[in-house]
């Protein structure tokens, strides 16, 4: 509101200054003319006809110059009380019917400024003008002897007001001191009573503005009076429209803000999706890697940004890890194979020596039949032992092997050892790692049967159970107490038993290495009640390792 007032004030003050400058110009001209000796002489001196004519021409030339050069000046004239007149370029004549009324209206005034009116002093003129009149005094009588007047084109004032009215919600009008309308854009409407203007309110108002309510609309009137002319320039702004336009602007801002916000949100979603999607993909891939699924971990969609290069690095890293792990597995495999070979390749030299010793004894005693059996058994045993081509053997082969071994041992221990072997048919065609039954049997002999005074029995049986092969090696030896049971798989114990070549420990290790945890040897035993060793092996894998 204050802004509106300030703005309007600036505007109307400018209008006032412009009008003042026009009026000043008219005043200056009037002063010049009234005091010019030419005019004085022409009006009041008794001059010969020729001299008068010269003077008249001089004045006319001056007047004509003013009217011709100044667009704002409509008329310029001198009217003497005696009926003499000098008007514009000399071609115009007085409208005699209105002179008297005019002279009466300005009588006694040194200088007077009219409101806007139709110029009716000059015949056929009837232009809309604002007239500045100045009385001319006779130098002899010091009485008013004539009038000089100069007309300001009304159009100048109108243009001034129209050009300074901004938009359809603004207008400027001008009143003179008495409240007569000098200019109003809707002057005709006012005169026809089609519209009304708050002229009285403007005149009565002591401040420079007021707000009038008109049919629910607020109008802001801002006024500025000119000290020179006394005219009041009034700027009228339709306040409600101002408010409305402000409201509309606010609405516009609001809409724009809302649209921008929506766009921003969408954009944010886009950008974050663009950023987070590859990151999510990366995270998922990492999880796959964690689970060890290297194949599915590779990121296929690579965008051309930082995340993209990260993804690329990730892919590289993953494949590198995969290679390393494969290499590692291979190395481990190799290592295990070597270990397995190391473990199985040993055949007890004591056993070999003892057996050969027994053969010598038998040969010396001419027990050739027995020598043949024992040597054959030993040969079979050795052949199987040194045949390193495969790690895996048929159960049947393993059974034969252990049978050869037991045959030899039975002959060595005479009738102190008896054995039975009972293998189910359906496991004979299965493959197992070799040299697993013999060491257990050996252990049973050396730690069980050997300490028994009566005849010892070793019973080996194998069957299928729950998708596994189960082998039982039973001896009716002295058995083991709880303490012994505890240490049965110990390395130390095994080392003690190093005579037996391949110890229980080694067998257990090999089983676990090859078949994994969950498989291997378990013992059941009680002191004096014999021992049962169980070997649990999965049914053979389709492809043999090795």
């Amino acid at each position: 509101m204050t802004n509106s007032i300030d703005y309007t004030l600036k505007l109307i003050n400018q209008v006032n200054r412009d009008i003042d400058s026009y009026i000043s110009y008219m005043e200056n001209i009037s002063s010049l003319v009234v005091h010019s000796s030419d005019v004085q002489n022409y009006l009041f001196e008794d001059l010969p006809e020729e001299g008068r004519e010269d003077l008249y021409q001089r004045i006319i030339t001056q007047f004509d110059a003013v009217v011709e050069t100044r667009e704002d000046i409509a008329n310029i004239a001198v009217v003497a009380s005696n009926g003499e007149s000098i008007i514009n370029d000399g071609t115009d004549v007085l409208n005699e019917y209105n002179v008297e009324r005019y002279l009466d209206s300005i009588a006694g005034k040194e200088i007077s400024l009219s409101s806007s009116h139709v110029q009716n002093l000059i015949k056929n003129n009837y232009k809309w003008v604002i007239t500045l009149s100045r009385s001319i005094q006779s130098p002899f009588t010091y009485r008013q002897a004539g009038v000089f007047f100069i007309d300001l084109n009304y159009r100048i004032i109108r243009d001034l007001c129209e050009n300074n009215s901004m938009g359809s919600n603004w207008y400027i009008f001008i009143l003179d001191q008495e409240g007569k309308i000098i200019y109003h854009p809707k002057q005709q409407l006012l005169y026809y009573g089609l519209e009304e203007e708050r002229i009285q309110q403007v005149l009565a108002c002591s401040e420079n503005h007021f707000v009038a309510n008109e049919g629910g609309e607020n109008k802001l009137y801002t006024m500025s009076a000119s000290e020179k002319t006394g005219w009041i320039v009034v700027g009228v702004a339709n306040n409600l429209d101002l408010m409305k336009s402000r409201k509309e602007t606010q609405k516009l801002y609001l809409y724009t803000a809302a649209v921008l916000l929506m766009i921003a949100v969408l954009l944010a979603a886009f950008i974050s999706a663009a950023v987070t999607k590859p990151i999510t993909r990366l995270r998922n891939s990492m999880k796959e890697v964690e689970k060890g699924h290297f194949e599915s971990a590779s990121i296929k969609e690579i965008s051309h940004n930082e995340i993209g290069s990260l993804s690329k690095s990730f892919n590289l890293m993953t494949s590198e890890i995969k290679n390393l792990m494969e290499q590692n597995t291979h190395v481990q495999e190799q290592k295990r194979m070597l270990e397995l070979q190391a473990l199985q390749s040993q055949i007890n030299p004591h056993f070999l020596y003892n057996t050969l010793d027994s053969i010598i004894w038998m040969a010396e005693g001419n027990r050739s039949e027995e020598v043949i059996i024992m040597t054959a058994s030993l040969a079979r045993l050795l052949r199987q032992s040194i045949s390193n081509e495969s790690e895996l053997v048929w159960v049947k082969q393993e059974t034969d092997y252990v049978k050869s071994y037991l045959t030899i041992q039975k002959m060595r221990y005479k009738d102190k050892l008896e054995f039975e072997i009972q293998m189910d048919q359906d496991i004979l065609e299965q493959k197992i790692i070799k040299l697993i039954l013999q060491p257990i049997v050996e252990n049973a002999i050396y730690h069980g049967i050997k300490y028994k005074d009566t005849k010892g029995l070793i019973r080996i049986s194998g069957w299928k159970e729950d998708g596994c092969m189960l082998f039982e090696i039973y001896d009716n030896g002295r058995g083991m107490d709880a303490e012994e049971m505890k240490h049965i798989f110990d390395k130390n114990k095994s080392r003690e038993a190093v005579r037996s070549g391949v110890g229980i420990y080694n067998v257990q290790m090999r089983l676990k290495l090859y078949y994994g945890e969950g498989y291997g040897i378990s013992y059941e035993s009680r002191l004096g009640e014999g021992t049962r060793a169980y070997i649990r092996i999965p049914m053979s894998r389709k492809e043999g390792k090795g």
């Binding site: 139709v118 009837y126 026809y192």
Partner: protein, 323 residues
């Protein structure tokens, strides 16, 4: 790359929405399309110039799209009928018509209404009543004002002559009727009523004859501009200005000068500016679905030497014109 596209998209969206909103805010409510057909476009005719001015000022005020077409001769009703048909083809919301002829424009006028275009008559009527409203001077009242003024000028021996414009025309009859009403009991002082057919020269001749026939005539009443001015010219030429007082109708520069001169004692003027203004105003009111009176009086004014240069009349008598 994609980000740059998105930013461009964003920019486009912002500019687009801003333009859209700006456009919306600039949108005007509803603009009515009106065609004005006066009797004539004539720069020398104050009456029509003012009527057109009034219409345009109202058009500006009510945000009306106003177009105009008129014959070059005030009597060319055939041309006016052509223009009416053209206006109908333009499908405006309303047509503001000042019919030249009471009878000859009726057919075209009927077409306006048949084409569902609102019809508003200004100044003159036609012999069918199909218009929404008519805005005109109440000629009986205006005539009565002339009569009442004349009555004040009369002395006991006064004789009055009336010079009408067109015999049988509605305005002439109404004005004469009003004049007689205004004169009251003094109406019997009317010695003759003649018609000049809106021709200065015929009015001049008629006045010459009247002065001869009735040498004691001292008051002449003109019923329009042609009859009043023609009569006044004759009186001036016969140097009878001091003896015969003229009261005229309508205004022109010549009439005003004769008023200044004293040839005329007074003139009754119509308010054609108001007619044009009220015509558009009524059209807008009707188009907005509201009702207006079937007959709107635009008023008149009695102008004498005394009030000629009063602030409120100057603007009516001397419309501001572009030089």
């Amino acid at each position: 790359m994609r980000l740059r596209y998105l930013l461009l998209l964003l920019l486009a969206a912002v500019v687009g929405s801003a333009l859209f909103l700006y456009g919306r805010s600039q949108e005007k409510k509803e603009v009515f399309d009106i065609i004005l057909i006066p009797k004539v476009i004539d720069c020398d005719s104050d009456f029509w110039t003012q009527l057109i001015d009034g219409a345009y000022m109202a058009a500006e005020e009510y945000h009306v799209r106003l177009r105009m077409a008129a014959p070059e001769e005030e009597s060319d009703y055939e041309r006016q009928n052509e223009l009416i048909r053209w206006a109908i083809s333009e499908k405006p919301d309303a047509i503001l018509l000042a019919p030249i002829s009471y009878a000859e424009n009726s057919q075209a006028v009927q077409m306006i209404v048949e084409n569902k275009i609102k019809l508003i008559l200004v100044d003159s009527d036609v012999d069918i009543k199909v218009q929404e409203t008519i805005i005109a001077t109440n000629n009986v009242l205006a005539g009565a004002a002339e009569g009442a003024y004349i009555k004040e000028l009369l002395d006991e021996n006064s004789q009055i002559a009336i010079i009408g414009h067109v015999k049988g025309s509605s305005t002439a009859m109404e004005r004469e009727k009003g004049l007689r009403e205004g004169l009251g009991e003094m109406a019997d002082r009317i010695v003759d009523v003649v018609y000049c057919d809106s021709d200065y020269n015929k009015a001049y001749e008629l006045m010459m004859e009247l002065m001869e026939t009735y040498p004691d005539i001292n008051v002449v009443a003109g019923l329009n501009e042609y009859s009043a001015v023609g009569a006044a010219r004759a009186i001036r030429d016969m140097n009878k200005a001091d003896e015969i007082q003229v009261v005229g109708f309508d205004s022109s520069l010549e009439e005003i000068q004769m008023l200044e001169e004293g040839l005329f004692r007074g003139i009754v003027i119509q308010k054609s500016f108001k007619m044009g203004y009220l015509g558009i105003q009524a059209a807008v009111t009707i188009l907005e679905g509201k009702s207006v009176p079937a007959d709107i009086d635009s008023g008149y004014e009695l102008i004498t030497q005394e009030n000629l240069y009063l602030e409120e009349y100057q603007k009516q008598l001397f419309p501001f014109r572009e030089e």
